[in-house]
Amino acid sequence: MSVQAYFPGCSLESSSREFDKSTHLVCKALDIDLKELPDWSCCGAHAAHHTRHNLSTILSARNLSIATKEGYDSIMAPCPACYNRLKSAQIELAECDKKQAAAREDFNFQINPDLRVFSILEFLAGIDKAVLQAKVKKNLKELKVAAYYGCLLVRPPKLVNFDDPESPVTMDEILTAVGATVVPWDYKVQCCGASLSVSDPDIQAKLCADILEMAKLAGAQAIVVACPLCHANLDLKQGQINRRMSTHYDIPIFYLTQIIGLAWGFSPQELEIDKHMVDSMSLLTAVLK
């Protein structure tokens, strides 16, 4: 069993516990022991980097320095916002000697410049497809899904370069490897509205309605995501979107790790699929037979 440092971030401990749960199950099945970073703090996303950029960098630097101190050579952060903040801070500190020096002086941070930061997508993309395939126990062929990457999983290209930033394929490939039917579509990286769901829900409703419509037109029965915010905007808010836009979407939204888990024989309950706001169970009953 190999050990992998794990940075859950705030969402995976609260609104998207099922992402955390399913990530653990999938990693366990891969014989990977996820070790939560001790005493981790906020990654510096949202509130922090809206108010003071440096604060956001320092917060991530703190987490990176903990990983360094613990002797890890990589750290996995499933939430794309955490992933983005940790990576940005690392690059920013490496590029700017002065800042790094200041960060070190004030807080005594030591950061391994070669420390690798992964999202769950990048992490899984690095695993041989044959390994993913070999673990399949349930046939997901009848399940037609659209892979939705959102804004931060594969972008910006300066930070992230394991996939095409405008037309990514890695999630499609993983889903195909575990047996799901993946539909081609064009809205893989369109904006879901992110935190506009709080500040300007009209815009977010329109953006998400477009995504749901395009998935439907492409023939998808469900959308697969790997981001707590995308999930919240598309799942939690789907009812609100329908009311605002006078639409009737009823499209289940899964986490990537939940679909992998299903294929590998975990039950929907273990994967907490029953916690979704849009009913996902009826679809699964219909297609998993």
Partner: protein, 664 residues
């Protein structure tokens, strides 16, 4: 030794910051200086006469002029010195303008620096030796590389003088990109009608030898005397027997995407690239011909009435000599399919490039000039649809830092306006939208042309960069900003045409290396001076024209081609060429034959020479040497010296600035 010093006011360019009178006064205190004065404009006729007079009256034998950069007037001043019967290399210029007055503010400090500069020049000139240029013969033949409109024009212009030209084109036909174009801005005349006659002229001109399907293998030599090896790739056709009837192409069972029509239709393994091809001779694609690959088929051979097919033919190498070379290798489109995932990476049949649209418009194109949706190509004729709404997207792969193409394509503002007009003529009911960033129509009558597209043809211009193109219910959706309205827009269109940017032609960097000329980071060849030497490459005797120098349209390409031809004619009109004596020289008594100099020489000017005793020493070919001094600096035993910049001369300058002058 009698040195004369002349300090120029240069209007007030120098005198405003430098006390020229004090500089002139100081110069008189230097050893061997017998005359020193200031002049308001040394370069003017009275200024030059003053110096000539002083040379005559005082018997001056060395001259120092403190004025502007030698890059500006050195040649003029050398002529003046020669006219006064002095060897022109007995002159030294101290750059008091670019190196002093223009870049400093403090007058007293600038004056001290000017004094130092003049002091250096005086010390150096006192060690000058009389030098004489040598002469080489000039071969009057010219090589033109690339047979697009620029290469064609240059070849015809040089041949007009009766001198011999060899034109080398790597494709099976000449014509280049212009052969693909339908009608051309700014006059909308038919591209074929103006190009095809010139292509035929090239073929028929008795002074031009044409090598198509050929490439440059190797180049050695120097201005006036280049030796070039040309690889004639095997067409597998005996060109002497072929009549160009085309019968061989009729039965070929193989299909491959046509290069000429950019994949809009297909060609056989044996094919003539396009109907107006020059020469009108087919070529066999060896990578797909079953006869070449497996020895099976041979249908084309059976069809040929003159037994011209020769599957066994091999590449041949020919060696030729030239006095001058014109490079006109043109451009290619930026590979938008690779770069733009947001536009679908090329997976939508109805999102095409501008050059493909040229082929759709062209009467000799795959649809006979009917603009129909590429998605319908395979459908029965009755079901083929014309697009009703067509969107053109400018700057795809131009002015885009994100994809590493920050420069302008130079042509897409104009040709998208052209498409607006031509589209309306093909499909009067069509709606035309053009997404653009800025309208750049700076050529003669270009602005009027774009206006016409807007006002007479009703093209709708939307100012904004397109963020995404995708398919929805069988139509293409374009998402963009409209920066004039400050809004986001979405447009559904039947056909989207991307104005793909202009890149240098593939292999441009390798060719530059063979020719020893410079290119920029994008592979465009660099001219010697952006204003004053626009068609000269960085190596003497090599000229550049057309889109290989940077994106440009046909009028500019042709103008540059004629200008390159004029430069070549100027060069080869002399029987002999005077070469600068400011070159490196080897003292063979000191040379130890380590040949470090040979490794560092960027101009391949160093040769190995065997001495009578069997030892090898270095020799400098003065015709190739550009006097850069790298060998001089590299030579450990100090066997190499550079005329005009000997170690002794340079050290004397160093000494002059290091010695603190007690009078200042």
């Amino acid at each position: 030794m009698k040195i004369g010093v002349f300090i120029c006011y240069c209007g007030n360019n120098i005198s405003a910051t430098v006390d020229v009178e004090q500089v002139a006064k100081f110069a008189l205190t230097l050893p061997d200086v017998v005359h020193s004065e200031t002049i308001h404009h040394v370069c003017s006729e009275p200024g030059q006469n003053t110096i000539k007079q002083a040379i005559k009256n005082k018997g001056l034998d060395r001259i120092v002029i403190g004025a502007c950069s030698p890059r500006i007037h050195e040649a003029t001043f050398q002529r003046m010195v020669s006219a006064a019967r002095l060897n022109k290399y007995m002159l030294e210029i101290a750059n008091l303008r670019e190196h002093c007055s223009w870049i400093h503010e403090d007058r007293s400090l600038a004056t001290i620096k000017a004094i130092d500069l003049v002091n250096m020049a005086v010390c150096k000139v006192s060690r000058h030796k009389v030098l004489y240029p040598s002469q080489v013969e000039i071969n009057p033949r010219t090589l033109v590389i690339g047979g697009g409109i620029a290469g064609i024009q240059a070849a015809l212009d040089v041949a007009e003088s009766g001198n011999e030209v060899v034109l080398v084109e790597r494709e099976p036909s000449i014509g280049g990109n212009m052969a693909r174009l339908d009608k051309v801005f700014p006059t909308l005349d038919c591209s074929g009608c103006i190009l095809a006659p010139k292509m035929v002229d090239v073929a028929n001109n008795k002074h031009i030898s044409l090598h198509t399907y050929s490439e440059i293998e190797k180049v050695t030599g120097f201005v006036g005397n280049f030796k070039v090896t040309i690889r004639k790739k095997a067409r597998l056709i005996d060109t002497a027997k072929c009549t160009g009837c085309g019968a061989c192409t009729l039965k070929c069972p193989i299909k491959a995407p046509s290069e000429f029509n950019l994949g809009l239709d297909s060609r056989g393994a044996i094919y003539i690239p396009f109907p107006q091809a020059v020469p009108h001779i087919p070529v066999i694609d060896k990578t797909i011909c079953p006869m070449v690959l497996k020895g099976k088929c041979g249908l084309c051979q059976k069809m040929c009435p003159t037994q011209a097919i020769d599957y066994k033919q091999e590449d041949t190498l020919i060696e030729e000599s030239f006095g001058a070379i014109i490079v006109a290798t043109g451009y290619e489109l930026v590979d938008w399919k690779k770069l733009y995932g947001e536009y679908g990476h090329g997976r939508y049949p109805n999102v095409i490039s501008s050059m493909q649209y040229e082929r759709l418009l062209s009467a000799s194109g795959p649809t006979g000039g009917h603009v129909i949706l590429p998605s319908d190509f395979k459908k029965p004729h009755a079901e083929q649809r014309e697009p009703k709404i067509i969107a053109f997207v400018a700057c795809v792969g131009s002015r885009d830092e994100k994809v590493g193409r920050p420069y302008c394509s130079g042509v897409c503002c104009m040709y998208t306006a052209k498409y607006a007009m031509l589209t309306k003529e093909h499909i009067p009911a069509a709606e035309v939208y053009i997404f653009y960033m800025d309208l750049r129509a700076a050529g003669k009558s270009y602005e009027e042309f774009v206006r016409r597209a807007q006002e007479k043809y009703g093209a709708r211009y939307i100012r904004g960069r397109v963020s995404k193109i995708y398919e929805r219910n069988g139509r293409m959706v374009i998402m963009s900003a409209d920066t004039l309205l400050g809004k986001q827009v979405q447009l559904e269109a039947d056909l989207v045409v991307l104005a793909a940017g202009v890149a240098s032609s593939s292999g441009a960097n390798q060719l530059a290396q063979k020719l020893n000329i410079s290119h920029d980071q994008y592979g465009f060849f660099i001219e010697s001076h952006p204003k004053l030497r626009p068609v000269e490459a960085s190596t003497a005797g090599i000229f550049i024209c057309g889109a290989c120098q940077g994106p440009k349209d046909i009028p500019l390409s042709v103008a540059q081609a004629s200008s390159a031809a004029a430069k070549v004619l100027g060069l080869i009109s002399h029987e002999k060429l005077e070469t600068s004596p400011l070159v490196a020289e080897v003292n063979i008594n000191r040379c130890i034959g380590c040949f470090r100099c040979l490794e560092v020489c960027p101009f391949t000017a160093i040769e190995k020479q065997e001495m009578r005793g069997g030892a090898w020493v270095a020799r400098v070919n003065p015709a190739l040497c550009q006097g850069c001094g790298l060998c001089n600096a590299t030579c450990l035993p100090g066997a190499i010296s550079l005329n005009g910049f000997t170690d002794d001369q340079i050290l004397s300058e160093v000494e002059a600035i290091c010695l603190v002058n007690p009078e200042l």
